[in-house]
Symmetry: C2
Subunit: 354 residues, 2 copies
């Protein structure tokens, strides 16, 4: 207990010291001096509304983001690959009940946790993705196994779980993913839905737009992008999807080009938000294409997609991205996005616009 | 029987007369005179090797492509929407046992038929996609229902089937999808796999490259793209995936941005080929991006992606595309691609490069 209090205090100090740095990184211009490594993470664009965020809760989230950065940064600093940094950082975020991925996944309409994830290697542009697994402790590990040990890119449902079992990945009882907080959010949404429609379900897209109190639970995701010492990029994304999703819905997280994209020639991108919009506009690939084909800088490309295109279309969310020169962009059009970055000598975590 | 013989003879005459037109459309330059409508279809890039194609079989395939064109063209000529033309044309191709979609779907490793499909409306950029259904007679209809009647874009497996049942879409016994020819191909592949590995499965991507005799069965897909009188574009794709696919593999057909993309500002695209590569390079969105961001003409964009990028990466296949001015492109880097196009006063079907 003492240890936790101490860690909270240290983190609070750390937050104050890095708020200015955060502003710097979010406005930075491309540089010719590539840093040795660069890392960015997100814990979802559905941050709790600022009004509902307690100081204790904020410290808890920031501490988790900071710990996640430590994992990725240690790997990169020691010459590890971007792919390893992305995988291990996401494993940590999946194991935290704070974020909507792995352990903290939201519930489907039927009261289950169905997990989606993907990973992409910028060096080879190999990719692995899985949709709708319910027993795999770390979906991002399974996505990497699909990439490296199968002839396929995208596996789903029971087949993906069978593949995980054959590869001896850790399986857990679905109860592992249960958290009371997420369960209560589902119950609340089901009650609202019943009031609106007289029965459960059958909402159209237009009726299904995020309502303020639940946005935080609907758009949660975790993601990581990294540039390693060899100049290789990687990106990964993992999620429990939207609370109250139905019919084995698959979101953007496992859709290569929508939730995740990486190519050493330009950038690595991981998205979070209202997945349906991110699929329809192939958001991660769109950022890549704006750099590759239109010559935009990373910050311009990411800002255009998130703050112009998606805003015009009504798509709420954000993304994190790192380019081949180590520039980082973390735009979002939602109230907040749990996020953090690390480079040699620079580091920060943040939740709201600051 | 007489009727069939007559229809075959007419089709044979038709083939001869339109070979030159086919060359024209494949080399055409952008035009300022937008035709009233434009339509293109494919029946997969895995055409039978020319050496193995009998004249009777060729006539049969061409007749089916011609009938499919009739369906879409009638809708467009009468002022119907691009979306309706795409859906109805694909329904016809799904119901034909000749193509790897719906009725003629290939078999998975476990001897099942798992169907993927997607559709996208260029006017609204709404999209619907389904992966891994086994009892839905026309997956493209389900994809459209997902787009129009659910808050989600992408449904999978049993959940997608439940959604189909709730919407009263036609369900069939899985035996509906059984064809002896496809079954024999699976048995052949399983025997080859056993010989190569000593056990079934566990092939890596590099071992899993298409071997000549089976390419035709592995890359089958059907697709349609259309421009209607109102200037709206639409694209759709449907497939049984790869023979011998495992672990509920999902291919590129239901991945918006990979197998299917449509946006009224540029083009509509439907792909066919080794799906893993089409996912990794977000092929359909890439064609769109080359037009939107780099200013390439449709033919240049489609040719670059299929004949340069994919060839360099080892990704076999092709695509059909129509742009907002009614230009059509149908490049492929495989031996053949079942394909056809129709505009007012111009029409053609083809299988090989000719």
């Amino acid at each position: 207990m003492k240890k936790i209090a101490f860690s909270v205090a240290i983190t609070a100090l750390f937050i104050i010291s890095c708020k200015n740095k955060m502003q710097d990184v979010e406005n930075q211009q491309p540089t010719a001096n590539r840093p040795e490594y660069a890392l960015a993470i997100h814990g979802g664009a559905g941050a709790l509304r600022r009004a509902a965020m307690s100081p204790e809760k904020e410290v808890e989230y920031r501490a988790a983001l900071d710990s996640a950065l430590n994992i990725g940064e240690n790997i990169l600093r020691n010459g590890g690959s971007a792919l390893d940094a992305v995988e291990q950082t996401i494993v940590f975020l999946e194991n935290s009940p704070l974020f909507n991925a792995g352990r903290g996944a939201v519930f489907t309409h039927d009261g289950k946790n169905e997990l989606d994830a993907s990973i992409m290697d910028g060096a080879t542009q190999n990719a692995g993705a899985i949709g709708g697994v319910t027993t795999v402790k770390n979906p991002i590990r399974l996505a990497r196994a699909v990439m490296e040990q199968s002839p396929h890119v995208f596996l789903s449902g029971r087949g993906a779980e069978q593949f995980a079992a054959e590869r001896s990945l850790e399986l857990v009882d679905p109860a592992w993913f249960y958290t009371e907080e997420r369960w209560e959010v589902l119950q609340k949404l089901l009650r609202e839905e019943k009031e609106k429609t007289g029965k459960q379900g059958h909402l159209k897209l237009s009726q299904h737009r995020p309502s303020e109190p639940t946005a935080d639970e609907k758009f949660g995701t975790v993601g990581c992008v990294a540039l390693d010492k060899n100049g290789h990029l990687a990106a990964g994304t993992s999620t429990g999807g939207m609370t109250n999703k139905r019919w084995n819905r698959i979101g953007d997280a496992p859709v290569i080009g929508a939730g995740t994209y990486a190519s050493d020639d330009a950038c690595a991108v991981s998205c979070t938000g209202h997945g349906e919009f991110f699929i329809r506009y192939a958001v991660a690939h769109d950022v890549w294409a704006l750099m590759a084909y239109k010559g935009l800088a990373l910050a311009e490309a990411a800002d255009f997609v998130v703050n112009k295109k998606l805003v015009e279309k009504g798509g709420e969310g954000g993304l994190i991205a790192v380019d081949k020169d180590g520039n980082i962009a973390m735009p979002f059009n939602s109230e907040g996005m749990y996020r953090g970055f690390a480079k040699p000598g620079a580091r920060g975590v943040a939740i709201y616009k600051e």
